[in-house]
C-alpha cells in the first residue's frame, strides 16, 4: 500500500509536471535562518553564523537532487527529456525526417492496405462467437478436395460424429439456391437463398437482429409451417428495413403455377451475411421449406456445404478421424454411389487461408518487397545522418555523455520516425481501403446491380498488422545506432567526410544494401510486367469465346412455343444480330457447371460411368458465343427430337478419352437422359464434332472434358438467351427484359448481363493483381531511385577529394563522369544479378496466377530492364553532374 500510494503521487507529479521546488526552497531558507539565529544566540558573529548554518545544512544542490528523486520518476523524466531532445533533433533536419517518414509510411501503408484487402476477401473470421472452433467438412474425391454432400449424407455425418455433440456444438449443412419472389407488377425477383439444416443458427451461434431464428426444436413445426430468416441487405432492399416484418409472411414461387406463403421469423444482423466473406445472401430457410415447396427430391443431390462447431473438448484431429470413418462406412454401405469418396475436416481459418491461395501469397510477397525497400531506404538515410553527426556525437561523448545515453537518444529518434510513419501509413491505408474496392471487379454489371458486400475497414486487425510492421522496422533500424559504423570515436573529431576506417566500412555495407535494393526492385518489376501481360492477355487473347458484345439473359424455360416468341421479340430489338440459347452461358456465376453420367461403350477399362460437365445448346449457340468447331460439324436445325441423338465433345475430352484418335463417329451412352426410342435404356449419342476448349466457370481454368448436347435434351427447366448486338449489349438490357416479360412476367431474367462483363468479372483477379502489382512496383521503383540517388550523392561527397586530385592532375570532366558511371554500372550489374535470382524464385510462385504468360518471359525481362535502367540513369544524373562540377582547388581546400 505504501509503495502504491507513493508511486501514484509521483506519477501524478510527473503527469502534472508539479514541482515542490518552491516549497523546498522556502523550507530550506527558513531552516537555515533558524539555525543562523540559533548560532548567533550561542555567540557567533552574523556572517559566521550564516556560514556555519549553511555548512551544517549540507550541499543545497545535492539535497535538491535527492528531493527530486523522491518526488518524481527519474526514468520517465529522463525519457521525456530525451524525447524532447529527439523531437528537436528531428525538427532541425526536416528534409531527412520527412523523406524517412514518408518512405516508411509508403511501405507500411501499402502493405497494410493489401493486408486489409486480403483480410476482407479471405482471412476475416465469420462473425460468430469463437470462430476458431468452427471447422469445415468436405467430401473428397481424387479430383476434388472441397466437395459437397447430399442432405442424407449430412444426416449420417451429424449423427455419428461425436466431436460435434454438445449443447452449443453441432454439424450444420448449408446449400446455395435461388428463390423467386413475385413483384406487384407480376414479375419476380430472384432471391439468393441459403437452404440450411434447422440447427444452423444455434450451432454456429448466429444471433438475429430482429425476431428469432429457427432451431432444431422447431423441426416438426417447420414441416407444415415454412419459415424464413431474412438477410440484412434483403430486409433493407425489399422490405424497406421494416421493423415490424417479423411475424408477417411472404410469397415464394415455384414455376408459374405454385405459390407458397412462408413466415418471416427474423432478420439477421449486417455482420453475418454468409459463411464466405464476399458473399451476401437474401433469405435463409430450413431444408423443411425446400421439401414443403415440392423440391425435397433435390436434397439427395450433393450441393450442401458442411460446417461444424466442435464440442468443448474435441479437437480438429478427432473430427477428422470421425469424418473419415463415416465416409468409409458410407462407401461400404453404398459402393455404387460412394466408392472413392472420402471426407476431410479443416479449420475454418485454414480453409480461408487456402482460398487466399497463390493470389494472396503473390500479393503478399510483392508487398513485403516494397516494405523491405522502404526499410533499406530509411536505413541508408540513417547511416548518412549518423556519419554526418559523428562530430556532434564525439562532442557529446567528450562532454561526458555515456554511449548508452547517445544510443538511447538515437533509438528514440528512430522510434519517433517509425511512430510518425505508422500514423501516416495508417492514414494512407484508410485512403487506399476506400479506393481499393472500386478497383476490383466484384461482380459483372447487371441491369440492377446489387451493392457489393465488400467493404474494407481499417480495423483493429489491420492496425495490429501495421503496428507489427512498425515494430519490426524499429528493431531493424535499431541496428544502426548500435552498429559500430555509426559509433563515434572520441579521437576522430575530424570533420565528417574523410575516408576513415569506419566510413569505408559503412559504405561497403551500404553498397550491399544498394545491390539488394536494385535486386528487389528488378524482381518486383519483372513480376509486375508478367502480371500486367497476364491481365492484358486475359482480356485480349483467344479464349474459345467471342469478345464481341453479347447480352445474356438467364430465366426459366417456358417451353418451345413461348421460347420461339421470346426469340422473335428479341430479334425485333434494334441492333440485334443473332439470338441463340442454351441451359447456361459460359462464365455465368452459377456455382459449378451441370454434369451428367457418361458411359464409354468402346472402352471396357472405363467400367463405371464418368460424370462430365455439359451444356445443352441451340444449333447456332456455339457460333454466336464464338466457340469454334475444330473437327466434324456443328449442330443444325435437323438435330432435333426427330433426328438421331448427337453430341459435340471438347478437345480436352478427346485428349482424355480418345487420345490421338478421331472421335467422330464414336458413341457415348448417357443414362441420365431418356431414350425416346427405347425407354429404360441409356440414350446413345453419336459424336459429330469436336469443339475447341472454352472456359466454363473461370477464365484461365484448366480445361476439363466438356460436352454439348442439342437443347431439346435438356430437362433443367432453365434457359439462357444469348443475344449478339452491334452496340454495347447492356444498352438493350432494359428492352430485352421487357421483351421477355411481355411473353410472360415469370420470364423476368434472374441474371441479365453481357459476355464482355462476365469476361471482365472472370478476369477480375488478373485485373486486381495487375493493378496492385503496378502500384506497388511503382512505389518500389521510386524508393529504389531515392535510395540509389542518396547513395551516389554520398559516394560523390566522399570521393570529392580524390576527384579533386585527379582533376588537378589533368583528368577531364568526362573522365570524372566516367569514373562515377563505371561505379554505377558495376552496382547495377550486381544488383540485376541478385534481382534475376529473386525473380527466378518469384516466378516459381507466380506461374499459377499468370494467364497465358510464361514467367520470366523475354518481354517481362526486357521491359523491367528498360524501366530499371532509365530509373538508374535518373538517379545517377545529379550526382554525376555534381562530380563533374567539382572544382579541384575547392575540393582540396575543403579538408
Amino acid at each position: 500500500m505504501r509503495t502504491l500510494s507513493r508511486v501514484s503521487t509521483r506519477l501524478r507529479n510527473v503527469a502534472t509536471l508539479r514541482r515542490g521546488d518552491a516549497r523546498l526552497r522556502e523550507e530550506m531558507e527558513s531552516h537555515i535562518a533558524m539555525q543562523t539565529e540559533e548560532n548567533i544566540r550561542v555567540g557567533m558573529s552574523a556572517d559566521e553564523a550564516r556560514r556555519q548554518a549553511r555548512l551544517k545544512f549540507g550541499a543545497v544542490e545535492t539535497i535538491r537532487e535527492a528531493y527530486h528523486v523522491e518526488e518524481g520518476l527519474p526514468l520517465i523524466e529522463d525519457l521525456l527529456h530525451d524525447l524532447r531532445h529527439s523531437v528537436r533533433a528531428l525538427r532541425k533536419s526536416p528534409a531527412f525526417t520527412s523523406v524517412a517518414v514518408v518512405t516508411l509510411a509508403l511501405g507500411i501503408g501499402s502493405s497494410a492496405a493489401i493486408f486489409c484487402l486480403m483480410d476482407a476477401l479471405w482471412l476475416h473470421p465469420m462473425h460468430v462467437p469463437h470462430p476458431d472452433r468452427v471447422v469445415r467438412i468436405f467430401g473428397t474425391t481424387k479430383q476434388d478436395q472441397e466437395g459437397e454432400f447430399s442432405y442424407p449424407e449430412y444426416k449420417a455425418m451429424a449423427q455419428r460424429m461425436t466431436a460435434f455433440k454438445g449443447p452449443n456444438a453441432g454439424v450444420v449443412a448449408i446449400g446455395g439456391r435461388g428463390s423467386l419472389m413475385p413483384r406487384p407488377d407480376g414479375t419476380a425477383e430472384l432471391l439468393l437463398t441459403n437452404v440450411v439444416s434447422d440447427n444452423f443458427f444455434t450451432a454456429l451461434g448466429v444471433r438475429p437482429l430482429l425476431g428469432r431464428t429457427f432451431t432444431a426444436q422447431d423441426a416438426e413445426r417447420l414441416r407444415t409451417h415454412p419459415a424464413v430468416v431474412l438477410g440484412y441487405s434483403c430486409w433493407k432492399r425489399d422490405f424497406g428495413g421494416d421493423p415490424k416484418i417479423v411475424g408477417r409472411s411472404m410469397t415464394l414461387l415455384r414455376g408459374k403455377d405454385h405459390r407458397y406463403q412462408v413466415d418471416v421469423w427474423g432478420v439477421l444482423p449486417s455482420s453475418f451475411r454468409d459463411t464466405n466473406p464476399d458473399s451476401d445472401r437474401d433469405i435463409w430457410m430450413p431444408t423443411q421449406d425446400w421439401s414443403f415447396m415440392g423440391r425435397g427430391g433435390e436434397l439427395s443431390y450433393r450441393w450442401f456445404n458442411l460446417l461444424g462447431r466442435l464440442a468443448p473438448h474435441a479437437t480438429v484431429r478427432q473430427a477428422r478421424e470421425q469424418a473419415a470413418a463415416v465416409a468409409s462406412a458410407l462407401a461400404i454401405a453404398e459402393p455404387a454411389a460412394n466408392r472413392g469418396r472420402g471426407a476431410r475436416v479443416a479449420s475454418d481459418f485454414s480453409y480461408r487461408k487456402s482460398n487466399a491461395g497463390t493470389t494472396g501469397l503473390v500479393l503478399f510477397v510483392i508487398a513485403a518487397g516494397v516494405v523491405l525497400l522502404a526499410f533499406v531506404n530509411v536505413a541508408h538515410l540513417l547511416f548518412s545522418r549518423a556519419l554526418n553527426r559523428s562530430s556532434e556525437m564525439s562532442l557529446r561523448l567528450s562532454l561526458g555523455a555515456t554511449r548508452w545515453i547517445i544510443a538511447r537518444q538515437l533509438l528514440l529518434e528512430n522510434f519517433l520516425i517509425v511512430a510518425l510513419s505508422l500514423v501516416l501509413g495508417l492514414g494512407f491505408a484508410v485512403g487506399l481501403a476506400a479506393v481499393l474496392p472500386r478497383l476490383l471487379v466484384l461482380q459483372p454489371a447487371m441491369l440492377e446491380s446489387r451493392t457489393s458486400g465488400l467493404n474494407l475497414h481499417v480495423d483493429f486487425r489491420v492496425f495490429l498488422f501495421a503496428s507489427a510492421l512498425a515494430f519490426i522496422s524499429t528493431l531493424f533500424l535499431a541496428v544502426i545506432p548500435l552498429s559500430r559504423a555509426a559509433r563515434p570515436e572520441l579521437l576522430t573529431m575530424l570533420p565528417a567526410g574523410s575516408t576513415t576506417h569506419t566510413a569505408a566500412r559503412a559504405s561497403r555495407l551500404r553498397r550491399a544494401a544498394i545491390w539488394l535494393q536494385i535486386g528487389i526492385s528488378f524482381a518486383l518489376l519483372v513480376s509486375t510486367a508478367s502480371l500486367v501481360q497476364s491481365f492484358v492477355n486475359a482480356r485480349t487473347r483467344p479464349i474459345g469465346l467471342t469478345r464481341k458484345q453479347l447480352l445474356i439473359a438467364f430465366t426459366q424455360d417456358p417451353g418451345t412455343p413461348l421460347r420461339n416468341d421470346v426469340i422473335a421479340n428479341l430479334r425485333a430489338l434494334p441492333g440485334v444480330q443473332s439470338v441463340a440459347y442454351a441451359i447456361r452461358a459460359p462464365l455465368m456465376p452459377s456455382e459449378g457447371g451441370i454434369a451428367t453420367k457418361v458411359i464409354f461403350p468402346g472402352q471396357p477399362e472405363l467400367q463405371n460411368p464418368v460424370a462430365i460437365k455439359y451444356n445443352a445448346v441451340s444449333p447456332s449457340f456455339l457460333n454466336v458465343t464464338g466457340t469454334r468447331i475444330v473437327r466434324g460439324r456443328g449442330f443444325t436445325a435437323a438435330d432435333d427430337l426427330n433426328g438421331p441423338p448427337v453430341v459435340i465433345v471438347s478437345q480436352a475430352m478427346v485428349r482424355k478419352y480418345w487420345p490421338g484418335q478421331n472421335p467422330i463417329g464414336h458413341s457415348v451412352l448417357l443414362p441420365d437422359f431418356d431414350n425416346v426410342m427405347r425407354r429404360g435404356t441409356p440414350l446413345e449419342a453419336r459424336i459429330i464434332g469436336v469443339a475447341e476448349n472454352a472456359p466454363v466457370n473461370q477464365i484461365g481454368e484448366i480445361s476439363e472434358p466438356y460436352m454439348y448436347l442439342p437443347f431439346h435434351l435438356s430437362q433443367m427447366g432453365e434457359v439462357t438467351f444469348v443475344v449478339g448486338t452491334q452496340l454495347n449489349a447492356m444498352s438493350i438490357a432494359r428492352d430485352a427484359r421487357e421483351a421477355l416479360i411481355h411473353v410472360n412476367p415469370l420470364l423476368d431474367p434472374m441474371l441479365l448481363t453481357s459476355l464482355p462483363e462476365l469476361i471482365r468479372f472472370s478476369a477480375g483477379d488478373y485485373q486486381m493483381m495487375a493493378e496492385l502489382a503496378t502500384a506497388l512496383g511503382l512505389i518500389g521503383l521510386v524508393l529504389t531511385v531515392i535510395g540509389l540517388y542518396g547513395f551516389l550523392a554520398f559516394l560523390v561527397t566522399q570521393r570529392q577529394r580524390e576527384i579533386g586530385i585527379r582533376m588537378a592532375l589533368g583528368a577531364s570532366r568526362e573522365a570524372t563522369v566516367n569514373l562515377i558511371a563505371r561505379d554505377v554500372v558495376r552496382i547495377a550489374v550486381i544488383g540485376l544479378a541478385i534481382g534475376l535470382v529473386l525473380a527466378l524464385a518469384g516466378a516459381r510462385l507466380e506461374v499459377a496466377v499468370l494467364f497465358d504468360v510464361r514467367p520470366l518471359d523475354a518481354l517481362s525481362l526486357s521491359s523491367a530492364l528498360a524501366i530499371l535502367a532509365s530509373a538508374v540513369l535518373v538517379a545517377a544524373w545529379l550526382p554525376a553532374r555534381r562530380a563533374a562540377a567539382v572544382e579541384p582547388m575547392e575540393a582540396l581546400r575543403a579538408e
Binding site: 507513493r6 516549497r23 522556502e26 527558513s30 545535492t62 539535497i63 535527492a66 527519474p74 529522463d78 545515453i405
Partner: protein, 120 residues
Amino acid sequence: MVPNSMKTKKDVQPGTLALMVLKTLDVLGSLHGYGIARRIEQISGDALFVNQGTLYPVLLRLEQEGAIASEWGPSENNRRARFYRLTRAGYKLLETEKRDWEQTAAIIARFFEVKAEDLA
C-alpha cells in the same frame, strides 16, 4: 540522470532516520523541519547528522507514503515554516517499525553476547 552514488550517500541509514522522525513527531506533536533536525541532534548527541538537509527528502517520502502530513504555519519567531505531524497511518507505521527495530536490535545484541565457549 542522477548518478547512483548520490542516492546512497546518506548521513544516517535511511530507514533509521525515518524512524527517528516518526518517533520525534510522536513525542513532540506538530513540528517544523528545523525543529525535527534539532531534536534528533539533541537526543543522538550532535554527532549523528553531517548534513541536516538530508532530512527533507525523507520528510517528502514519508508524506508521500501518507505517514505524515504537513501544512504551512508560523514558527516561534513568526517565520513561515512547514509543520509536520503524524497521521493515523503514521502511528501504525511507527508501531510496526518500532517492533521490527526492537526485534532486530535484540537479535543483534544476542549475537554480540555469544562467546566461543557457548557454541562448543
